[in-house]
Symmetry: C2
Subunit: 331 residues, 2 copies
């Protein structure tokens, strides 16, 4: 009843175990006739190699450890989609962990993923506990840190400069003649990159001699509902602003919904600006003005670079997948 092993295949094909192993891994010299015989035996027995055994013997595995902060924010499933796309056609399997934005949880996930001797570990951002950083540094697996390139990575960083994205938002709005600019955001503890964009925005405004007119930050994670409520609240305090930058598109779409409900003309009375370039923002009656962060490309690029080389870069490598302003019609 227990599944067939290499030995079963070997004896059926009348070769040594090692030969079967070599056929499977397509390694070394194999006579065509032997290969055929082995493959037939494999098929006949329905043999499936035991990865644990292989992994133990070779002290390496075809696992890619992936650590994401959240599954609730659509951005991360999209990164994951990119990772999958990069993995397609290879025999690597992603093993996923979710931290809920908790660095301690990240640390323990790193430890348990490392226990599988993965080929690479992909995680998010530059912030890790000291222990986590040490584990990653001491191991020899490749390490990708995604989303953010405003720091020196352990091995490879792929993403964009959120600071620069914030500055770009400022420049865009200033260029369009907006001067009384507000900000609606969500919790920065959970999302340092949103904070970086905020800092970039403020800096961009300052360079033009402006300051943020008003801001409103919610406690929870970003969501359309939160954005809707937060904009309403902001406007109740500051009726004279002419543009609002949101921490991301979820919040911005919520803001747009508020404007529709409250019959505020967008962008004539109030301009709206997001971040991410989510599909939903582009489906609004007036497509959202926002910054396209290429989540899919980030995931895909990271995987491709990590798999291209099994050794770590001697110098940490930083890859900027960039961003682009989606003009839209709301700002």
């Amino acid at each position: 009843m227990s599944s067939p092993t290499l030995a079963d295949v070997a004896s059926l094909a009348d070769v040594s175990e090692n030969t079967v192993s070599r056929v499977i891994r397509d390694k070394g010299y194999i006579a065509p006739a032997t290969r055929k015989r082995v493959n037939e035996a494999i098929r006949k027995l329905g043999y499936v190699p035991n990865r644990a055994a292989g992994s133990l013997a070779s002290s390496s595995s075809a696992i890619i450890g992936v650590i994401l902060p959240s599954m609730s924010n659509i951005v991360f499933p999209e990164v994951l989609r990119g990772i999958h796309a990069g993995l397609a056609g290879t025999h690597y399997q992603p093993m996923i962990g979710v931290t809920d934005y908790d660095l301690k949880k990240e640390e323990s996930l790193i430890s348990s993923l490392l226990a599988w001797k993965p080929a690479a570990i992909i995680t998010t951002g530059c912030e890790h506990t000291a222990a986590a950083r040490r584990m990653l540094k001491n191991s020899t697996v490749r390490v990708g840190e995604l989303m953010d390139i405003d720091h020196r990575p352990i091995d490879l960083a792929v993403g964009l400069s959120h600071l620069e994205a914030g500055r770009s938002a400022a420049r865009h709005l200033i260029g369009r003649g907006y001067a009384k600019i507000g900000y609606v955001g969500h919790d920065w503890n959970a999302d340092k990159r949103a904070h970086a964009r905020y800092l970039g925005l403020v800096e961009g405004l300052r360079q033009a001699g402006l300051v943020l007119s008003e801001e409103n930050r919610t406690n929870g994670p970003s969501s359309t509902l939160a954005g809707k409520a937060a904009l309403a609240e902001l406007l109740s305090r500051a009726k004279t602003i002419d543009a609002v930058v949101f921490s991301n598109d979820d919040m911005a779409v919520g803001g747009y919904m508020h404007c529709m409900a409250a019959e505020i003309a967008v962008p004539e009375t109030l301009a709206l600006f997001g971040f991410n370039g989510l599909e939903i923002g582009q489906t609004l009656p007036k497509p959202l003005s926002t910054i396209l962060s290429n989540r899919f490309a980030i995931g895909k690029t990271a995987v491709e670079l990590l798999l291209a080389n099994s050794e770590r870069n001697k110098k940490p490598q930083i890859v900027d997948t960039g961003f682009s302003i989606l003009e839209g019609s709301t700002a």
Copy 2:
């Protein structure tokens, strides 16, 4: 340089390897003093157990194989989120594969996931290749088939009856006085459950002596953009319908966007009805009337039931997570 092993811990703590192993797995009798000594040694060495070795020795692993048809449809990341929620606090790790709605790919994913001797395999729907079904049946791992309960599962099915959901949509619209009902959908090959809902809808209408007035199906996957275009096309052909059922919320939100752009009064001129109960539908100026499918609960429930028992059910078990009509304001 190579990482410490059980043996290193054992000699440092001056106990046998087996004792260390028992401390780690919290199994059998351990004197408190010994446990403390071992844990200190583990900490001092930064020991991380090699899962591959453990898995090989015990011929089982703490891996949960998860096979999803797609990452692009928000529904599946949400199921995955539920799975993660169910896994939180356990030491199980999900290993993810994506089929792109290709049953052959599912088959090969099942095979490679099985190679890790996972504790369970979670996949979607009831459709599998003969070989895939055989592999799952022959293995002893627990198997969860998600989303759909209109079939006899291998071991456990968790989801809802899409047929019944379709019927409910029909009853809801009929109850509201709509009689000329159209349908806008996406590709059924990729999404059998959408087809089941369609069949339920048609059946529900027939029971009231009605038929579908008009329908329009796109080729690709569902999306807001596709829904927007498809409704426009449908209305260009059939101007007299008073309600449209969409294959899901993505499509329905797109339809709503079309109505806004074309200034069609919803629901006065045209009622809209979706499926899934996505957040975005509920954020529209008029919340979308739809059916709430509990994706998160499906994932979470499945994991909990699978982990509750390491043996398969003698009788396949079917768990109906149900659905509920979100009244909304669009139908």
